[in-house]
């Protein structure tokens, strides 16, 4: 049997088995999930033949599946992150209700992503895209929180994006007579400008929506923070990358090569704006989940910028960042999930000082944060370096400033995140907190190890990226295992930096631990005497409250402008319109009869112009 079909069958079968397993009992279900989580990546890495293709004709549409290097690159994200998240989920979701639905949807979204990345035609791309969308919708509203607000918002935006794609697809089919991606790419040059823009922008709309680019990001914070964290790591890490995947081939493959880089530039600008605004929003979040959600949006903004610029280096930077983002956001969401499960809250004004209680979680988060912030020894630095370099060589200095501003501001929320949850004073109410179960810790640790290794040897990833970029029309992309050489001829050896930093860091840590234990005294954060002023019990005086108050005051004018508001107003307006329109069904049977007669009169009066006799 064809290995690609078998892969899809394994995932779908796994979904069904997990569903029924969990319907029977939790232990059986968990074991099934665990086995499935192991089998999928093992099968993918060892058995899947990437040269194989499947082609079939359904309902008159020719479908074709087969990997290319670009799809394979993204598949790696899915195949590494998703099983880890599944294993994590076993621990995280323990004793929750409706587990059968959870794992079923989880595996189906993996099925969707896997399918997207091997689709060579638009129909199967769309099918898998929709499967991914509805399964993730079920997970977004899984806890039943804000079903009306967040869930519907997610579904509306997803549907808008998907249908924009669908419209592009049928227009492409009308123009090329084929549903194949490859035919579209070859025929693109011959389209009229309108068709080029219409199809390209509609496709971009769909993809950009999934990767939460600025005006289309409003679904993301709520969706990311309401979803069970076990899935959010995949959601933000892998699923949003499907948007990047699509943007890659639309922007780079079509517009950048068709001398229409203006489209890509617009996208890049949107990405940069997204990055800045989302970073600022992230800084002022008190809920760690929300913080990470905004941070995700910001990171995706960088990636989109990289893709949008569309030069060799920028695309490479974007893709590298995409892979790193999958890893570190995966870890961070898992860590928040662990905190949520163990401490019962993710509010950074409530939870604090968990570093001693949950050291492994802290370690993993720390590594991830370092990678995220782009601090030298880890991969984030390399990626950002490449991004800056590509922007500078391309002459987009304003964008450099924006990205730089955003990256710097990112330190603020990184610090807030680490401090809020793990550092600071530990309150007595968290005395009982224990480290999360190994099922949850091991995936985090594995991912952070991956981050460390790629920090020292970025080439491990760059190799695949370079291979993947051949499908985007960039051949002979140069890369080195551990040395980065820039346009101006300077080179940096990461191996050495990494080792040096690690040594210093470890030494400092040991020193700190030793000193910290010696000299710390315990004071309750809630026992503060204020001169002459009465403190009400509900006043929370922990450090994490109003963490960046002065900064917030400065940024107030920017933050006041909330795009969400406009969407809400628009939605309300639509609802009012709908309410108005349905009044034509007055409930009076006679009125309906009058409609019939009116219609007859209209047709008779205009019969000449309608029928043109």
């Amino acid at each position: 049997m064809n290995s690609l079909v078998l892969l899809l069958l394994i995932i779908a079968g796994g979904a069904l088995l997990s569903y029924f397993g969990h319907r029977i009992n939790q232990l059986l279900g968990n074991i099934t999930v665990f086995i499935v989580a192991l089998i999928i990546p093992i099968y993918w890495f060892t058995q899947v033949d990437f040269t194989e293709t499947v082609s079939l004709t359904i309902s008159g549409f020719h479908l074709e599946w087969g990997y290319n290097m670009y799809g394979k690159l993204f598949s790696m994200i899915v195949m590494i992150l998703s099983p880890l998240a599944l294993i994590y989920a076993i621990g995280y979701m323990k004793d929750q209700k409706k587990l059968a639905t959870f794992y079923f949807s989880f595996l189906f979204s993996i099925l969707g992503m896997t399918g997207i990345l091997m689709s060579r035609d638009f129909v199967s791309l769309f099918i898998f895209w929709e499967i991914m969308t509805w399964s993730s919708y079920l997970l977004v509203i899984f806890f039943g929180k804000d079903v009306e607000k967040t869930g519907i918002k997610y579904m509306v935006f997803s549907a808008l994006g998907a249908y924009a794609m669908l419209m592009a697809i049928v227009i492409i089919n009308n123009n090329t007579g084929s549903m194949m991606l490859a035919d579209y790419f070859t025929a693109f040059g011959g389209f009229s400008l309108q068709t080029k823009l219409l199809t390209g922008i509609l496709l971009m709309f769909g993809f950009a929506l999934k990767s939460a680019v600025m005006p289309l990001h409003v679904w993301a914070p709520g969706a990311y923070s309401n979803t069970p964290m076990a899935y959010t790591s995949v959601f933000s890490g892998a699923l949003s990358k499907m948007g990047i995947y699509g943007l890659g081939f639309v922007v780079v493959n079509l517009f950048a090569h068709a001398n229409m880089s203006i489209v890509g530039d617009v996208l890049a600008w949107l990405g940069a704006i997204t990055a800045v605004l989302a970073t600022f929003s992230a800084i002022f979040q008190d809920d760690a989940k929300k913080l990470l959600a905004y941070s995700s949006i910001a990171q995706l903004g960088y990636i989109v910028t990289g893709i949008g610029i569309g030069t060799e280096l920028s695309v490479m930077a974007g893709l590298y960042l995409a892979i790193l983002h999958a890893a570190f956001k995966g870890v961070l969401f898992m860590a928040v999930g662990a905190v949520e499960r163990q401490a019962g809250s993710t509010d950074m004004t409530v939870v604090s000082g968990l570093v001693r209680k949950m050291p492994f979680t802290f370690f993993a988060s720390l590594i991830a944060i370092i990678a995220l912030a782009g601090i030298p020894p880890l991969g984030g630095f390399v990626a950002k370096w490449m991004l800056y370099e590509s922007l500078i060589t391309n002459g987009n200095f304003l964008m450099v400033i924006m990205i730089f501003l955003s990256s710097t501001a990112a330190f603020l929320y990184c610090y807030k995140f680490l401090f809020g949850l793990f550092l600071g004073q530990q309150e007595p109410e968290f005395d009982h907190v224990k480290e999360a179960s190994p099922l949850m810790v091991v995936p985090m640790i594995l991912l952070s190890l991956f981050l460390m290794v790629t920090g020292a040897y970025p080439g491990i990833v760059l190799k695949y990226i370079a291979a993947g970029m051949t499908n985007l029309g960039f051949h002979d992309v140069s890369w080195q295992m551990s040395v980065l050489t820039n346009t101006w001829g300077d080179s940096v050896n990461f191996q050495h930096i990494f080792l040096a930093v690690v040594v210093v860091f470890v030494a400092f840590l040991i020193f700190l631990t030793w000193r910290g234990y010696k000299h710390s005294t315990k004071v309750s954060t809630k026992d503060i005497s204020v001169s002459g002023e009465m403190i009400k019990p509900e006043d929370n005086m922990t450090y994490s409250k109003d963490f960046y108050k002065p900064f917030e005051r400065v940024l107030q004018p920017i933050l006041k402008w909330k795009i969400n508001k406009y969407y809400d107003e628009f939605g309300k307006g639509l609802e009012a319109l709908f309410d108005f329109m349905r009044r034509i069904y007055t409930g009076n049977g006679q009125t309906y009869a009058v409609y019939v007669i009116t219609f007859l009169v209209i047709l008779l009066v205009f019969s000449k112009s309608i029928f043109g006799y």
């Binding site: 409930g587 009076n588 007669i597």
Partner: protein
């Protein structure tokens, strides 16, 4: 004369139909609406028969009196159709009136404006 009858009969038929339609569309009383529908039907039936009529035709019956003679007969097809239509109209009227009785029992009124529990 022919023309007068054309417009006279067609006109009457249409007039009855429009009267019926008017009652069905404007009158508020349920029974009146059904009366309107019935008048509408009457006009329609008249139209059918009038369209089927052929000048100086006889009824389409080969009674012993006409067998073998060369007579013009009126078009029997509209007559057959209108037979069916009359019976169907009667059936619809009966159902409509039964519904009126039901509505009256529920709402204690026969004003169609007051019977709109189902709307929007």
């Amino acid at each position: 004369m022919q023309e007068f009858l054309t417009y006279g009969i067609y006109g009457t038929a249409f007039f009855l139909m429009l009267l019926g339609l008017y009652a069905a569309l404007v009158k508020k009383n349920l029974v009146k609406i059904v009366i309107g529908l019935s008048v509408l039907d009457s006009g329609l039936h008249l139209l059918f028969v009038a369209v089927g009529y052929i000048s100086n035709g006889t009824a389409p019956i080969f009674s012993p009196a006409v067998v073998g003679k060369n007579v013009v007969m009126v078009d029997p097809v509209p007559q057959a159709l209108v037979l069916t239509a009359i019976v169907i109209g009667f059936g619809v009227t009966a159902v409509a009136l039964a519904l009126v009785v039901r509505l009256y029992r529920k709402h204690n009124t026969t004003n169609i404006d007051e019977i709109k529990n189902l709307k929007w």
